[in-house]
């Protein structure tokens, strides 16, 4: 197997392993559109990274977190419905990212690779970032598991029972921001949400507990990455979208199978 392919596979598996369990929470909390909005702001993070001359993935994580905070503040106002706010923020931040990048004339940026991923161009450095970020996110999620699950089922009940729900919610947003930052290279900011929610949605029919659903989602994500890469080689299709198509095919297959 070629080196670049091995690196692509390693990177993809790292992202899939973290995205599966986190995606399960996104599905349970009905936050798919929220994740999408954060991902859209990723391009602004890339621009920020260029301007501040920091690693683009740090820029993306920071921007996602910032957008998440803005969203939390705006939702407190309750003047607009949540999905309207998300729509405003998603497309404003994406456009702002595109406009900012256009101002940076001296830098040439391959926009497509950020929008749809460039998994075949993953470097060894990228792998450190991906596995470091994914490992951190998974470890934090494991530590946060019980309070986060309690708050997901009912936030006020959890709060009365002593869960610091606000801190837990912030930590969860931070984890989403990290995973978006590391997944960007694999599937691109426009397709990240699919890697979060499709494996989790596929796993639902076969899971009897929250934990089994999360683990199964991670595993299904890995299968999708492998199948997508293989298909991309076989038919010379774009790798990131191929991974997403593979995940969707698994979902369709799962619907056809009897549950449990």
């Amino acid at each position: 197997m070629d080196d670049f392919l091995l690196r692509a596979l390693c990177g993809g598996l790292g992202v899939a392993l973290a995205a599966g369990p986190l995606g399960a929470f996104i599905v349970w909390r009905r936050m798919a559109y929220f994740g999408d909005t954060l991902a859209h702001s990723g391009l602004l993070g890339v621009a920020l990274g260029v301007v501040l001359q920091i690693n683009p993935q740090l820029g993306v994580a920071a921007t996602c977190l910032l957008i998440a905070m803005v969203l939390v503040l705006l939702q407190r106002q309750r003047a607009l419905a949540a999905d309207t706010l998300l729509g405003i923020l998603a497309h404003t931040s994406l456009s702002l990212g595109l406009v900012t990048l256009a101002f940076l004339e001296t830098v040439r940026i391959d926009l497509t690779s950020y929008l749809f991923g460039d998994i075949l161009a993953i470097s060894v450095d990228d792998l450190y970032w991906i596995w470091g970020g994914a490992g951190l996110a998974l470890a934090a999620l494991a530590g946060l598991w019980r309070p986060l699950l309690a708050a997901t089922v009912h936030e006020e009940l959890a709060q009365v029972e002593g869960v610091p729900v606000f801190a837990v919610r912030l930590a969860f947003m931070l984890l989403i921001a990290i995973v978006i930052a590391v997944a960007m290279k694999v599937v691109g900011i426009l397709l990240i949400t699919s890697l979060l929610i499709i494996p989790a949605a596929t796993a639902r029919r076969f899971a009897r507990s929250p934990e089994s659903m999360a683990l199964l989602a991670g595993g299904l994500g890995c299968v999708a990455v492998g199948a997508g890469l293989w298909a991309s080689l076989r038919w010379d299709t774009p790798a990131g979208p191929s991974v997403v198509v593979a995940a969707a095919a698994l979902f369709a297959l799962g619907q056809a199978l009897p549950s449990r």
Binding site: A150, E156, V160, M213
Partner: protein, 263 residues
């Protein structure tokens, strides 16, 4: 209106919960106005009122989920609270058994969960998915989770919601028994006086402020209660409707009650 005894024996058990002159406004709209009451151990206090009367808001203030604009909530030091929230919907995408749901509230052994479920008469659903049980079983599951915390005070927000009629009386019976068996105080929110009458010791009839309060039999005959709920509602017909026979000013106070024969 109740009259507080001026020289109650000081040695009487300290109340579990004391709410004093609590007020809350949201965006300039008064939601709760100078509400005062207390709950003692072994006592059931029920807040009744129409939708938007501030019942649940008071419960949430007591639980520390919202901070009042004015007034004080005093909990007996070290008080453990069990809470049964209103309208709990668990997403279909979350695979969760009853047992797992209950242990989310705090670690407990399988035997303890089984015992708590047995105490509320729902032992048979322990391994069922939470999405597959009936409304009555769901409420009992919530109650079991609250009981596992060994509470001194139970706060129950509309505990019979989604329960069929026969089950409603059973559930209130159960709540009444719990008070005796466990000696805990219970603060309950309900929209229906007559269902809770047999169970409760004291009723506070709310319309942002406390319209009337006291023993349920007295409240049921109180003109303020009759005005608020209407005679039909007070007599408890199968379908509840009431006449708007008085108005409230911007602050929620009763302006004038038309002298329609409520007698």
């Amino acid at each position: 209106m109740t009259v507080k005894p001026s020289s109650a024996p000081a040695l009487a058990a300290q109340p579990l919960l004391r709410v004093e002159n609590v007020s809350l406004s949201l965006r300039g709209q008064p939601i709760v106005q100078s509400v005062t009451f207390q709950v003692r151990a072994g006592e059931i206090v029920t807040l009744i009122g129409l939708n938007g009367a501030g019942k649940s808001t008071i419960a949430r203030i007591v639980l520390g989920l919202i901070r009042p604009d004015a007034g004080r909530v005093q909990l007996r030091p070290g008080l453990r609270i069990g809470y049964m929230p209103q309208r709990l919907m668990i997403d279909d995408t979350l695979p969760l058994t009853v047992e797992r749901f209950i242990t989310l509230g705090g670690s407990a052994s399988r035997e303890q969960v089984q015992a708590a479920l047995a105490e509320v008469g729902a032992a048979q659903v322990m391994r069922s998915p939470v999405q597959a049980i009936s409304g009555g079983e769901f409420q009992r599951m919530l109650l079991a989770r609250a009981l596992l915390r060994d509470p001194d005070l139970l706060v129950l927000d509309e505990p019979i919601q989604g329960v069929d009629l026969a089950g409603q009386y059973e559930l209130y019976d159960l709540i009444g028994q719990l008070r005796h068996r466990r000696g805990c105080g219970i603060l309950m929110v309900s929209h229906d006086l007559h269902l809770v009458m047999a169970t409760t010791d004291q009723v506070l009839c709310l319309n942002r402020h406390i319209c009337c309060s006291g023993h349920p039999d007295d409240v049921a005959r109180d003109p303020a209660y009759l005005q608020l709920f209407g005679l039909d509602g007070a007599r408890r017909l199968a379908i509840y409707h009431h006449h708007h026979n008085h108005r409230h000013d911007l602050h929620g106070a009763v302006v004038a009650a038309e002298e329609e024969a409520h007698g």
